[in-house]
């Protein structure tokens, strides 16, 4: 039986990918941001998941305004890094665990989560930056150490799915994975955030207090946290901070009781507060 052993929350700021791809991680500006992921890379080596279930959002790359699925599951054999306007990131093609992905798709739909199934999809920084920060630099010729099942969530056009819906989807993902018949170790990523506003006159908003409370409540009060209304994200964490709902999918897929094994918080990466947490299930 496949099992989810841990969850990772992680920002996916595009500038972090650019800093890695252009060799600027040792610059004064970037050093403290990357220092907080050193322990995470060691942890990833030890955890050594067979499959990463990666919850992220597409930034108008694979999906433009013509089609906006709330939840889209990547079921293709592989996903190429997309050209977002500056050429594709020089990172490996992402390989799916296609059999598990199709099992998850079927299980989730029968569990009443009406997914969109993607049999062709390119992936943008939302997916590749978390892989880069957690696994370190990997070039085009290289391979990612795990297979990856992508789940793209709409957070660009309001409203994103509610935190409650996301938390419950996480639970359904866990049921799907645990009913898959192969003995595989799965780690789930919830990405995006933390507080940031990219647009209009209030751009640059950062709410450290709010972010820290969010990280705290992932262990102390995950269900309560998932009930937060959208307007609170928009007001307190900035208009783009609403992507934090994706962390509830990760959290919902874990045990009620988890152990926080690592945390990192840094301001700024470009316009954004970088937040990161690793949570281990206590039962597995």
């Amino acid at each position: 039986m496949a099992r989810i052993t841990a969850g990772v929350g992680c920002s996916h700021v595009p500038a972090i990918g650019v800093a890695m791809d252009t060799g600027h991680t040792e610059d004064d500006y970037w050093k403290p941001c990357f220092a907080g992921f050193e322990k995470s890379r060691e942890w990833m080596k030890k955890a050594n998941p067979d499959v990463v279930f990666l919850v992220y959002n597409d930034h108008c790359t694979a999906f433009d305004a013509s089609c906006i699925p709330t939840f889209a599951l990547g079921c293709a054999a592989e996903f190429k890094p997309a050209d977002e306007g500056w050429g594709p990131r020089p990172v490996p093609v992402v390989k799916n665990h296609q059999k598990m992905a199709s099992h998850v798709a079927q299980s989730l739909i029968l569990d009443e989560f009406d997914l969109t199934i993607m049999n062709e999809m390119e992936v943008d920084h939302g997916l590749t930056v978390p892989l880069s920060v957690m696994y370190g630099q990997h070039g085009i010729e290289d391979e990612w150490p795990a297979q990856v099942i992508p789940l793209a969530v709409n957070v660009v056009q309001y409203p994103a799915p509610t935190g409650n819906r996301c938390y419950n989807l996480g639970k359904a993902i866990r049921r799907a994975i645990e009913s898959y018949d192969e003995d595989l170790n799965v780690v789930i990523f919830g990405t995006g955030g933390m507080s940031h506003q990219l647009q209009y006159k209030r751009a640059g908003l950062i709410n450290k207090e709010w972010d820290i409370a969010f990280l705290d409540r992932l262990t102390s009060d995950p269900v309560g946290l998932s009930q937060m209304p959208h307007v609170e994200y928009l007001r307190e964490a900035g208009s783009e901070g609403v992507e934090m709902v994706m962390w509830h999918i990760m959290r919902g897929a874990l045990d009620e009781d988890v152990t926080e094994v690592h945390r990192h918080y840094h301001v700024p990466a470009s316009n954004t507060a970088v937040g990161h947490i690793i949570l281990e299930n206590t039962t597995s």
């Binding site: 108008c60 309001y158 647009q199 006159k201 209030r202 751009a203 908003l205 950062i206 700024p268």
Partner: protein, 134 residues
């Protein structure tokens, strides 16, 4: 008229909701086409002719030509889309924020390095003072 929205009292913020998605559809589709170099080449050779392919409103069209970044958001643009037009012009996300806030690149970058814009005085319209914020 539309319904009252609980996020209308957040200052300095345009929430890209379904209404704006409807109004801005052709504008945003134009912007995202600039993700690809071959389209950027055609646009940069003749902006007006390229814009003819997108049935946006006359105001949206003029606002694109004027590069009025805040107005683009007010009339249906979304930042993930308008940022592609900015990138075409050699303007990155942080420089674009410098323009939209009216702070300029240096002051904006400094604010971010010092921890970003505080939420104090920036949560509700009635406490927001635009001059104080910059």
């Amino acid at each position: 008229m539309g319904m009252k929205k609980d996020y209308d009292d957040i200052p300095g913020t345009i929430v890209f909701d379904a209404d704006r998605g409807r109004e801005g559809y052709h504008l945003n589709q134009f912007c995202i086409s600039l993700r690809l170099q071959k389209n950027r080449d055609v646009f940069n050779a003749n902006e007006e002719a390229y814009l003819d392919k997108y049935p946006m409103t006359a105001e949206q069209r003029q606002t694109v030509l004027d590069r009025d970044w805040n107005r683009l958001l007010e009339i249906g643009g979304n930042i993930y889309y308008t940022s592609k037009l900015a990138a075409n012009d050699g303007i990155n996300f942080q420089q674009l924020a410098g323009l939209m806030t009216g702070m300029g690149n240096e002051a904006y970058r400094k604010m971010m390095v010092e921890g970003g814009r505080s939420p104090e005085g920036a949560r509700y319209l009635d406490e927001w003072d635009e001059k104080e914020q910059n």
